[in-house]
Structures are given as structure tokens and as C-alpha cells.
């Protein structure tokens, strides 16, 4: 390709591969070198703005490090990092008047490991970036949990002072929620969802890339809060304790903003993708339940997440700008924080479980070789949870001193959520009924999820009843409940999803034996760790304490030992993933005999997913229906169904 002639033909603007790359100095091209110097440059810019304005306005002291850290280090420097890495290049280029290149795929696909460390617009690469990053933060958060349990192994303080201890469990919870569960689901869906609906990519690939790169920023910010004490008010960061915390609390407030912005952008992307980019024939009632689940989850994220952003901004403003949102002496309203916070954070519980419901529906149907029982009711119950989920937030506040009359209506809506949730559980069980159940690793995790989630759901019903909640609120009973639903619930579904789609993502099979050992070890350790917590909670051990009464010493020692086994079980997973990705057996296109569209393409799928737009002709789970097909690909290729040679799941 000659550089001089093609660059000026109009057609060249539509095809990046024909356009000659403009030679720039390596410090000026998008990538890590530019990201590093731009991070420092933007920090310097922020420093100058703060100091300049303060000097101009005669504020004392002129060099106020608190303001500088918030404005320069936690706001502008990350923007500089993103800009340097190339997150805004296309838009910036458009904004200064360069011709747009609608078919620019230069940032698409991964051909070497380096392509995972740049701004990549391929939803499959982004999906893997998400999953790998979130597993890293999962291990970091898990390590913090090990520290917490080490401290709690004996009744007195052993290893940490109380401020450090408070920061340990705060950052543990924040990492697990904001940097693991929520984005891990976003990552799995990022990879699978466009394939499932027959789309070549997400609707906004560049926005997709940007929303991924916000995550490491949030994670690093949370972890670095250990160098600036203060993120020790729990992941709930209740005012006025959060306002009174040492300065490091701003790291929590700002990290939540970055993680929240990431999930809002991803959710908008999912919504537009699902609404506008379904393949021909893919009606809403033919969508796989994973797509339904991410549709409802994205609605929750878009509506609710701005509220937690608001709550953290208010705390930040109270600290830095001396506003009085939560300062009672100055007319602030302390309970206001909790209302705003839980208006996000209760729906967030469903943000952290609905995508898991979707994954489990796929897995259980495939490995039972049966259609999902009551498909439409399954989809409708997701919508019911979505609607009800916005009307239950104050059940976190039964003892808070809010208006007393709110308690009974909030209890009724809370208990009613058990109904659509129950429908889902019973429908999964009915899907098993008369099936041909294959207990492969994804199925073990899915069934493990159902059993753990039933226990977590039932303790949730107990907590929904106001009198019981009053007695056990803020005790280890709550800790037990949240871990049954988030660990036995969300985490198990994430593992089900990772094992299920690992062949599709990497083109290799994982080691089944190690995966099963991983499951059974985790399953036993989860129960040994968290079930006794119900007991000590009811008997009077409050949560978030570094020391406790001697009467709980034996149970706590047992819990700590179990938790170390739990932590160790994930090493098996990490080993299995790394070794299998490098040298596992080559995976076929459809190792499980799944019927949804992602199993019709190669493992891993080609860069643009489909050579030709798939035609959707039937329901996604018509196992056992003679001649039924979900989709037809490339005209001549046979869709998954009776006519395809059967595979051993």
C-alpha cells in the first residue's frame, strides 16, 4: 500500500487498514509511556489550579494538601492517565475537526498479550480484561479478609490497631462489591452478551473500553487508602463517622465515583446493545435469560448508581468544602445519608445477583439437557425484582430512627421479593426434574449456588421481619446473611460462568478434576466459615469489632481456620486458569452442547464474531424438541439442535 496516494482518497477514511499511520514520537502515541507522563502532567495541572485559585482568593494555607489530593491526585491525574492511554483519542480527534473514521478497527482484537494492556474496543478482549482485573481485586480483597480473620481468631487485639482493623474490613467489602462482583458480571456479560444476541460488538465499543479502564483506577485508589488512614467507616461509610474520619476517607469517596461511573457507562451500553442490536428474529421472548438478566440489571444500575455517587459527594463536600449536609449542629440531616445511600445500595444487592440468575439459568438448562422451566415467568420475575427492589431500601434502617411508620410497608415489600425469587429457585429445580443431569464443574457451581442462595434467602426473610431485624441488626447474623448471598450466591455464579465460558473465551478446556476439587473445597469451607456466624450473631456478637467476649472465642477460632481453607481453595482456581489457558486441550466450538448463539461460533470467536448476521428462528432452550433450532448461521451451517452431532457434555 503506497502511503501518498491512498491517504487522500475519500474511501480511505472508511478503512483504517489502508490509512497510513501518522508517525508520532513514541511519547506522543497512545500507550503506557504517554499515560505515565500525562498522569503526572495532569496532577501538576491540578496542583497549579488549586494553589493558584487559593492564592488568588487569599485562602490560608495556600498549599492545602487535602484539596490538592482530591482535585489533582484523585480527579485530574486519573483523567490524565486515561487520556494518555488513548481512552479519549477518537473523540478528541473528532472534536478538533479531524474526519471521523466509522470503520476504524485499529483498536480491535487481541493478537498478543500486549493487546490486553491497551485501550481495546473488542468486547471479547474487554470481557477478558474485566474478568482478569476483577479476579486480581478479588484476591486482594480476599487477602484483606484473611487479615480480618487472623485478627479475630482470638478475642483480644493481636496484629492490628483498631483503626487499621476498621480499614481492613472497609476496603475488603468495597473491593469485593465495587471491584469484583459488579464488574465481574459486567465482564462476563461483555464477552457473552453480544454473541448471544448475534451482534458483532457492543453498541459503543469506545465507551466500553473507557468504562473498563476506570476500574483499575478505582481499585488502586481503594488499596492506596491504606497509606492515608481514614477509609475506616465501613463500606457503608455512614455520616457522621465518615466525615469525622481521618483524611484518607476521601480515597473511598472518590474510588466509588470512578467505579460507579464505570458501571453506569457499561449499563447504558448494555441497554442500547440489547434494545438495538439483536439479530433478526431475536424477539424479546427469544432472548436467553442471561440477556434478560443483564437488561434488568442495567436498568437498576442506570437508575440507582447516581444515588451512591451523590451520597459520597455530599460526604466529600462536608469534609473538603465545609458544607453541612450531615452536620446536625448546622442543620444537616444525618439519616439523609442513609436514605440516599441505601436507595442505591439495596438495588445494588440485585445488581450483584440478577446477572448470576442469568448465568445459572444458562448452565442449569444446558447441563440438564432440558428447556428452562417457565421461561416467561423467569423473565417476568426478574422484572418484578427490579420494580420491587426500588421500594425496599429502608429495611436497612429499621433501627436507624427513621419515621416509624415506614417500617411496616418496607417490611411488606421486602418479604414480597421472596416470591419472585422463590419462583426462580423452584423453576430451576423443575428444570432439573426428569432431566439428564451432567455434573460438570459449571453445573456444580450452579447447584451449589441454588443451595447457598436458598439459605441466604431464608435468612433474608428472617431479616425482613422487623422484630427479628431489630434483634439481630448489626450483628454477625448480618455478616452471615450477606456472605451467603454474595459469596454463596454471587461468587458461585461467577465461577459457574467462568468455567462455563472458559472454553469459549480462551479456546482451551480447563482441568475438570481441579475444578471439582475447587468447588467441593470452597463449598464446604463457605459453610464452615459462615454458618456459625448466624449463631454468634444472634447470641450477641456485634459486627465490625476487633475484640469480643471470651464466650465467642471457640467459634471464632473455628471460623478463622475455615476461612483460611476457603482462601486457599481459590489458589486451585488460579492455578487451573493459568495452566489451562496456556496449555489446556483445544476446545471445540460447543463443548457442552449449548443451544444459544455463542456456541455456534468458534472457540475463541473470530474478531468480528460472525461472518454473516445470524438468523434467529426459535426459542433458546428447546432441548428435546425434534428439529427445533434457536438460530441459523451462515446459511448452510446447521443451528444447534437435533441435527447437530451430539456432543458429550
Amino acid at each position: 500500500m503506497t502511503e501518498t496516494t491512498t491517504a487522500h482518497t475519500p474511501a480511505a477514511h472508511h478503512d483504517a487498514s489502508h490509512e497510513p499511520p501518522r508517525k508520532r514520537h513514541w511519547l506522543l502515541t497512545a500507550g503506557w509511556p504517554r499515560a505515565i507522563w500525562m498522569t503526572f502532567a495532569f496532577f501538576g495541572l491540578g496542583f497549579l489550579i488549586v494553589v493558584g485559585l487559593r492564592a488568588l482568593l487569599n485562602y490560608e494555607p495556600v498549599v492545602d494538601w487535602h484539596v490538592i489530593i482530591v482535585a489533582a491526585a484523585l480527579t485530574l491525574a486519573p483523567l490524565g492517565f486515561l487520556a494518555g492511554l488513548g481512552g479519549f483519542d477518537y473523540w478528541a480527534s473528532y472534536a478538533i475537526g479531524n474526519p471521523t473514521k466509522p470503520e476504524d478497527h485499529s483498536g480491535h482484537g487481541a493478537y498478543s498479550w500486549k493487546d490486553y494492556f491497551r485501550v481495546n474496543t473488542d468486547h471479547k478482549v474487554i470481557g477478558i480484561q474485566y474478568v482478569a482485573t476483577t479476579i486480581f481485586f478479588f484476591l486482594a480483597g480476599g487477602l484483606l479478609a484473611m487479615f480480618v480473620r487472623a485478627e479475630l481468631a482470638r478475642p483480644q487485639t493481636e496484629f492490628f490497631d483498631t483503626q487499621t482493623y476498621n480499614e481492613l474490613f472497609t476496603v475488603h467489602a468495597s473491593l469485593m462489591i465495587f471491584l469484583f462482583i459488579i464488574p465481574a458480571f459486567a465482564g462476563l456479560a461483555n464477552f457473552v452478551l453480544p454473541l448471544m444476541i448475534g451482534a458483532p460488538d457492543m453498541a459503543f465499543p469506545r465507551l466500553n473500553a473507557l468504562s473498563y479502564w476506570l476500574l483499575p483506577i478505582a481499585g488502586v485508589m481503594l488499596l492506596s487508602s491504606f497509606f492515608f488512614p481514614g477509609a475506616g467507616a465501613g463500606w457503608t461509610n455512614y455520616a457522621t463517622l465518615s466525615v469525622d474520619q481521618p483524611f484518607g476517607n476521601v480515597f473511598f469517596s472518590m474510588a466509588v465515583q470512578w467505579a460507579g461511573a464505570s458501571s453506569i457507562m457499561t449499563a447504558l451500553n448494555f441497554l442500547v446493545t440489547i434494545i438495538t442490536m439483536r439479530a433478526p428474529g431475536m424477539t424479546f421472548w427469544r432472548m436467553p435469560l442471561l440477556v434478560w438478566a443483564n437488561f434488568t440489571t442495567s436498568l437498576l444500575v442506570v437508575i440507582a448508581t447516581p444515588f451512591i455517587a451523590g451520597s459520597q459527594f455530599f460526604v466529600l463536600f462536608d469534609r473538603i468544602m465545609h458544607t453541612n449536609f450531615f452536620e446536625p449542629g448546622e442543620g444537616g440531616y444525618v439519616l439523609g445519608y442513609q436514605h440516599i445511600f441505601w436507595f442505591y445500595s439495596h438495588p445494588a444487592v440485585y445488581i450483584m445477583i440478577l446477572p448470576g440468575f442469568g448465568i445459572v439459568s444458562e448452565v442449569i438448562s444446558t447441563f440438564s439437557r432440558k428447556p428452562i422451566f417457565g421461561y416467561r415467568l423467569m423473565a417476568l420475575s426478574l422484572m418484578a425484582i427490579l420494580v420491587l427492589g426500588f421500594s425496599v431500601w429502608a429495611h436497612h434502617m429499621f433501627v436507624s430512627g427513621m419515621a416509624a411508620y415506614l417500617r411496616v410497608p418496607m417490611m411488606v415489600t421486602t418479604l414480597l421479593i421472596a416470591v419472585p425469587t422463590g419462583i426462580k429457585v423452584f423453576s430451576w429445580l423443575a428444570t432439573l426434574w426428569e432431566g439428564k443431569i451432567h455434573f460438570r464443574a459449571p453445573m456444580l457451581w450452579a447447584l451449589g449456588f441454588v443451595s447457598m442462595f436458598v439459605i441466604g434467602g431464608l435468612s433474608g426473610v428472617m431479616l425482613g421481619a422487623v422484630p427479628i431485624d431489630i434483634a439481630v441488626s448489626d450483628t454477625y447474623f448480618i455478616v452471615a446473611h450477606i456472605h451467603y448471598v454474595l459469596l454463596g450466591g454471587s461468587l458461585f455464579t461467577i465461577f459457574a460462568g467462568i468455567y462455563y465460558w472458559f472454553p469459549k473465551m480462551t479456546g482451551r478446556m480447563y482441568d475438570e478434576r481441579l475444578a471439582k476439587i475447587h468447588f467441593w473445597l470452597t463449598f464446604v469451607a463457605v459453610n464452615a466459615t459462615f454458618f456459625p456466624m448466624h449463631l454468634i450473631g444472634i447470641q450477641g456478637m456485634p459486627r465490625r469489632v476487633a475484640t469480643y467476649e471470651d464466650q465467642f472465642a471457640n467459634w471464632n477460632l473455628f471460623i478463622s481456620i475455615s476461612s483460611f481453607v476457603l482462601g486457599a481453595s481459590f489458589m486451585i482456581f488460579v492455578y487451573n486458569m493459568i495452566v489451562s489457558w496456556k496449555s489446556g486441550p483445544i476446545a471445540p466450538a460447543n463443548p457442552w452442547g449449548g443451544r444459544t448463539i455463542e456456541w455456534l461460533v468458534d472457540s475463541p470467536p473470530p474478531v468480528f464474531n460472525f461472518d454473516e448476521v445470524p438468523q434467529v428462528v426459535g426459542n433458546p432452550y428447546d432441548f428435546g424438541v425434534k428439529g427445533a433450532r434457536h438460530a441459523i448461521l451462515n446459511g448452510d451451517r446447521v443451528g444447534a439442535g437435533e441435527l447437530e452431532p451430539a456432543r458429550t457434555p
Binding site: K370, V425, I437, I455, M462
Partner: protein
């Protein structure tokens, strides 16, 4: 009407119904009964509830047992279906065939929507009744003002001459209305044996009713994370017969630590016990707080003590503005005088 073919080919009986008839019902019910028997006996024989020492705890325990019963029922049903399905429908490794295309069953779906709705309605109605009952006092309640601060409790008895204490003394079989407020951050009042719990929130006043039914000495715990000393923000709730309680009130009013007493030493001692004693040990004042330094072990100089009380530091909140200058003076005098 669900699509699909569960009605196919066999008259009024679906595949599902046939599957159920094949002895499955007997097996399911047997497994459910075994699971229910095991879980119920664990719940019943293991002593997992704290002692019941208040009328409110009666109501809470009632709701708890009804809910636990319902939960065990649901758990047994789910466990029996999972266990049965796991063994009965396990595919042989070489079996590549699909299961029957059962897409749904309207009757079953109605049942498992309706039954849980009824069960949670039972829980909700019972809870609402118990809640209303626990919110109302039996007769005219005695009022106790509870002031929570980092990291201590202070109890004031306005109907008993404004007696102040750092331990909660209550008469038996009489409703007490606790009126809670907080000085700095949110705290939460909990005595496990009473069941009732209530946050103390800066800027608003919250209330809670407690009617003790047992004489005893119970844990009183802060359950809302309130900072460095949260785990140690504890005291005791002591329930005594009415006569004993009256005697205690009389003693307090005559000499020990009330706000009504005058005279430097006792005044400062009471002030110390109520304000500082939650965190600091000082044998002369009879306090045993473990959050801050043990003042028995320190040699204190007046100016240092004054600065520390005013400005705080090292985890201790500043008391300037909360204590008057003369109160601080008397504390300084009491501390530097009494520890040398």
C-alpha cells in the same frame, strides 16, 4: 398457557404428572420429612438464642420461631427435590440424549407463586402486630435519657432527680422508655437479652421501650460502628427489683455521682465517671474503661491534662464546648490531685 408438549400423547396426564406418580411423591415426602426432622431437632435442641429477659424479647422470639418454622419447611422441600433430582436424574457419562421438552406447568407455577405469598403474608402480619406491641409501653413508662458518645454511655433519670450513671439500672416488670441521643457519631443501643435495639443519632432523638422480666446483669453493647473504640463501647444493664432500684436511686441522690450533688470532689468524680470513665481506668473514680490510657499508670501535669481534654488527640475527641471551663478546671484539679 405455556407452549410445549407436556400434554402430548397421554390424555389428561402430562409427563410431569406421570413422573410424579411413579413413586416419586413418596420418595420426595420421605426425604423432606427426614430433612425437616434433622433441621428441626437442631433448631429445637441446640441452645442458640440468648436468654429471654424482657417482654419485648417474648414477641421477638415468637416471630423468630414462626419464621424459622416456615424457613425449615421451605428448606426441606427444596432440599428433598434437589437431593432426589440429583440422584434420580443423573445422566450416565455416555448419555448424549436430551431430557423431555417440558416448558412449564401453569398449575405448578401458580402454586409456587401463591404459597410463598401466603407464607410471607403470615410473617408480615405477625411481625406488624408484635412490632406495634413492642412499641407501646405497659402503663406509664419510666423515662431514661441515654446519651451516647465516643466511646461511652451515660444514663440520666429525669424522674428520679436527674441521677446520672454510666451503668443502666432498671426496675423489673416496669416499662422503661429510653430516649436516645448522640453527641458525635451514630451509636446503637443493644442488650441481646432484651432483644430491642435502637440507633442513637446526632441531631435527632430516638426512643425505644424495654420491659425487663428478669433480675440480672446483662451486656449493653454499641452495635453501630462508631470509630476506634467501637468494640469497647460497652457497659452493663442491671435489672433489680423495684425496692432495690429505689434504694439505688436514693443512694445516688445522697452521695454517689449524681449531678445534683455539690462540692468539688464528688462533683468532679461524678463528671469523670460519666464523661471519661467509659474509656479511662481510674481506680479512685471506680471506672475501668479500656479504650484510652489507664490513668492510674500515668503521672499527669495540669497543663497537659487541660490541653488534652480541650483539644483531644490520639484518638480522644476534644471536649472543649462540650464541657464548660469550670468543669474542665474541676476535672484537671481532680485528676492531677488524685493521681499524685
Amino acid at each position: 398457557m405455556p407452549r410445549g408438549s407436556i400434554w402430548q400423547g397421554s390424555g389428561p396426564f402430562s409427563r410431569l404428572d406421570r413422573a410424579l406418580r411413579r413413586g416419586a411423591v413418596v420418595a420426595l415426602i420421605s426425604i423432606a420429612l427426614v430433612v425437616a426432622a434433622i433441621t428441626t431437632s437442631i433448631a429445637y435442641f441446640v441452645d442458640w438464642l440468648p436468654e429471654n429477659a424482657s417482654e419485648e424479647r417474648d414477641g421477638i422470639d415468637l416471630v423468630l420461631w414462626v419464621t424459622v418454622g416456615i424457613c425449615l419447611f421451605v428448606f426441606s422441600v427444596v432440599a428433598s427435590v434437589s437431593i432426589y433430582a440429583g440422584f434420580r436424574f443423573r445422566a450416565r457419562p455416555d448419555d448424549d440424549s436430551d431430557g423431555p421438552p417440558i416448558h412449564g406447568h401453569t398449575g405448578l407455577e401458580i402454586v409456587w407463586t401463591a404459597v410463598p405469598t401466603i407464607l410471607v403474608t403470615i410473617i408480615a402480619v405477625l411481625s406488624a402486630i408484635v412490632l406495634a406491641e413492642n412499641d407501646s409501653a405497659k402503663g406509664k413508662p419510666m423515662v431514661v435519657e441515654v446519651l451516647a458518645q465516643q466511646y461511652a454511655w451515660q444514663f440520666t433519670y429525669p424522674e428520679n432527680g436527674g441521677v446520672k450513671a454510666t451503668t443502666l439500672y432498671l426496675p423489673i416488670d416496669r416499662s422503661t422508655k429510653l430516649v436516645l441521643s448522640a453527641r458525635d457519631v451514630i451509636h446503637s443501643f443493644w442488650v441481646p437479652e432484651f432483644g430491642q435495639k435502637q440507633d442513637a443519632v446526632p441531631g435527632i432523638v430516638t426512643t425505644i421501650i424495654i420491659t425487663p422480666t428478669k433480675v440480672g446483669n446483662f451486656r449493653l453493647i454499641c452495635t453501630e460502628l462508631c470509630g476506634l473504640g467501637h468494640a469497647l463501647m460497652r457497659t452493663r444493664a442491671i435489672v433489680m427489683p423495684q425496692a432495690g432500684f429505689d434504694r439505688w436511686v436514693r443512694q445516688q441522690r445522697q452521695g454517689g455521682g449524681g449531678a445534683t450533688t455539690t462540692g468539688g470532689e464528688t462533683d468532679a468524680k461524678g463528671l469523670f465517671a460519666s464523661t471519661c470513665g467509659g474509656c479511662h481506668t481510674l481506680s479512685k473514680a471506680g471506672t475501668s474503661g479500656m479504650v484510652g490510657p489507664n490513668l492510674d499508670d500515668l503521672s499527669l501535669n495540669p497543663e497537659g491534662v487541660r490541653q488534652q481534654i480541650r483539644r483531644g488527640g490520639g484518638g480522644m475527641p476534644p471536649f472543649e464546648g462540650q464541657l464548660s471551663d469550670s468543669q474542665i478546671d474541676s476535672l484537671v484539679q481532680y485528676l492531677t490531685g488524685s493521681t499524685q
